[in-house]
């Protein structure tokens, strides 16, 4: 429990630092929000009044505190472009992106772990060469290219779904099809990487003397694998899977565009092009929080798998 509390404290500190960095960066670049809202033709008096009203004359740290408080309570400021609160604008999109990244994550985990375990049992010769080459090939396929092929084959030719016509999450079966193909596109290179990583950790674990001892004492090889090797080999893989969340988010930004899925990624691209900084800032912080959260969950899962980690040791 103490370990979990420590991890969660670290998580909160990281979130504060991450959001502060984002806040400062956008504060530096966005220039004068008052001018952005009123346009360059505004009179100096009107600008000064709006600045005062928006609280832009206060020190940076105070404004950050204010912004963070707003962020936590769901008040993300106003979009320059849509004249709408950012929170309202993003709320439906957050859920879409969340579904997309969770689905990708599940696909990656469910396929790569059995694949890694299976391939670790075979080695050398033709299998090894084919495995390594295949891995490199799958890792080389960019998600948005797979996405284009999938949306052409299953959308345009087979008519399983209509690319670009995302119905919204309430229409579960149709939305699921969109998200499923998008997730597969994101997942393919990550499955290759995760499977390969698990395979190599299992194999280096299997070379250790405790495994030889266990087998020499007459234990079943499968049981040794399940009860001893996997437990140790999974820890780095769980960490790796959490890092994969960052890649899923990155892949999602592009793949949402390919399939026309209205999530945070598409919104981000549009907002960058329009220099709608409050929206960009909010999306960046939300996505970063999501990644940091995944890392913390991974640490907590690892502490369950390997209790030694709770004592502060390195596995």
């Amino acid at each position: 429990m103490k370990y979990a509390a420590k991890r969660i404290a670290t998580l909160l500190v990281t979130m504060v630092v991450v959001s502060f960095l984002a806040f400062v960066a956008f504060d530096l670049i966005s220039g004068d929000p008052a001018e952005m809202m009123l346009g360059t033709e505004a009179t100096p008096e009107a600008l000064a009044a709006l600045r005062e009203e928006m609280g832009l004359n206060r020190p940076l740290v105070v404004r950050y505190g204010d912004w963070l408080l707003g962020f936590v309570t769901g008040d993300l400021g106003m979009s320059y472009d849509y004249y709408q609160p950012v929170g309202e604008l993003l709320a439906p999109k957050i859920l879409v992106t969340l579904c997309l990244s969770l689905l990708s994550f599940v696909i990656i985990t469910v396929i790569s772990i059995p694949l890694g375990i299976w391939s670790a049992q075979r080695s050398g010769g033709l299998f090894g060469a084919v495995h390594t080459t295949g891995n490199q090939l799958f890792m080389a396929i960019p998600p948005f290219f797979t996405g284009m092929i999938l949306s052409w084959v299953f959308g345009t030719i087979l008519h399983w779904f209509t690319p670009g016509a995302f119905p919204g999450l309430t229409n579960v079966p149709v939305a699921l099809k969109h998200l499923l193909f998008a997730s597969v596109a994101i997942a393919i290179p990550r499955i290759a990487m995760t499977g390969r990583m698990l395979r190599s950790t299992i194999r280096s674990e299997q070379r250790k003397s405790y495994v030889r001892t266990a087998i020499s004492r007459g234990n079943d090889r499968g049981a040794v694998l399940r009860r001893h090797v996997l437990k140790n080999a999974l820890v780095p893989v769980v960490t790796f899977l959490a890092q994969t969340m960052a890649e899923i988010v990155a892949g999602g930004i592009v793949v949402e565009q390919v399939f026309g899925i209205p999530g945070l990624g598409r919104m981000l691209v549009v907002s960058i092009a329009n220099r709608d900084y409050p929206v960009v800032q909010a999306i960046v912080v939300i996505l970063a929080f999501w990644v940091v959260l995944a890392g913390t969950v991974a640490d907590l899962v690892n502490a369950r798998i390997d209790p030694r980690l709770q004592l502060g040791g390195d596995a």
């Binding site: 990281t14 630092v17 991450v18 960095l21 984002a22 960066a25 530096l28 670049i29 080695s123 050398g124 010769g125 299998f127 090894g128 060469a129 495995h131 390594t132 080459t133 490199q136 090939l137 890792m139 080389a140 396929i141 960019p142 948005f144 290219f145 284009m148 092929i149 052409w152 345009t156 890092q243 960052a246 890649e247 988010v249 990155a250 930004i253 592009v254 565009q257 390919v258 981000l268 691209v269 960058i272 092009a273 220099r275 900084y277 960009v280 960046v284 996505l287 970063a288 990644v291 940091v292 890392g295």
Partner: protein, 271 residues
């Protein structure tokens, strides 16, 4: 036997990458047709000996466009990796070798930066510097790639800080700069070279993604990402455009990946 299979990846990777890079470099000087000229052939011509990858809706030769576009992507990726590797290694060498407060602070900062997916970070920087300029794409990606190189080299430098040969060089009065550059750097190639191949591939992907999204390289410069977004619109009429461009990129990443694979391995490692 093991040795030959390892060299197999290196050979395959070098040959594949070599052929593609040759095409790319040739593309800087010569392409079969003008890559941007319209109506050099019929519209939507299928791939043939005359038009190796067919033509698009304007009758432009796709093979010429791929050569040219891959050139842009390649140049950006190389520049990115150079920026990332040079500054990252410098940072990693100094922090890893000297340690201390700066080391602790920079590494914590690096940890925190990993919360931002690299393409997200690059997009933030692009939005700061203004989208649509090639120089900004290079700078943004280069900056984003510095921490990962710094992390890898920092670990390597920290590990060798107290190696016997480093100690003896220090005793002989070698300057710190000389120790970092002449004594340690050649010994960390084992980790630096694979990091460079991985960085190159990530840079190709990141550039292509950003240009695909319209916030990277913009016309008239063709880049693979921009071409793919163009090709997606005519996937039905000219699938060879998307497939030709996409597979060229896949093969490039695959080839460099194979080289990286062989560099990462220690002698005698079995598949």
């Amino acid at each position: 036997m093991k040795k030959t299979s390892m060299n197999g990846y290196l050979a395959a990777g070098l040959i594949l990458t070599g052929v593609l890079v040759l095409l790319i470099v040739a593309g800087y000087f010569w392409t079969p047709y003008d890559p941007n000229a319209m109506s050099v052939g019929p519209k939507f011509a299928k791939p043939s000996l005359q038009y190796l990858l067919g033509t698009d809706n304007f009758g432009r030769d796709i093979f010429s466009r791929v050569m040219k576009g891959a050139g842009t992507t390649f140049a950006i990726a190389v520049a990115t990796v150079v920026i990332g590797a040079v500054f990252g290694t410098l940072l990693g060498a100094l922090t890893g070798y000297f340690g201390g407060l700066a080391d602790a602070v920079l590494m914590r900062l690096g940890d925190i930066l990993t919360a931002f997916p690299s393409i997200l970070l690059a997009m933030v920087i692009i939005s700061i510097m203004g989208p649509g300029k090639t120089v900004n794409v290079v700078l943004a990606l280069g900056l984003v790639f510095i921490p990962s190189f710094a992390r890898v080299t920092r670990t390597a430098y920290a590990g060798l800080r107290d190696a016997n040969y480093v100690k003896s060089a220090r005793l002989m009065g070698a300057s710190s700069a000389r120790i970092l550059w002449v004594h340690i750097l050649p010994n960390i190639m084992q980790v630096l070279l694979p990091a460079i191949t991985i960085g190159f591939n990530n840079a190709v992907l990141a550039e292509a993604s950003m240009s695909y999204l319209g916030i990277g390289v913009t016309p008239p410069d063709a880049s693979m990402g921009y071409m793919l977004s163009e090709a997606q619109g005519m996937f039905g009429a000219a699938p060879w455009y998307a497939l030709g461009t996409g597979f060229f990129m896949v093969l490039l990443i695959f080839g460099v990946g194979l080289i990286g694979e062989s560099l990462q391995r220690r002698d005698g490692e079995v598949d």
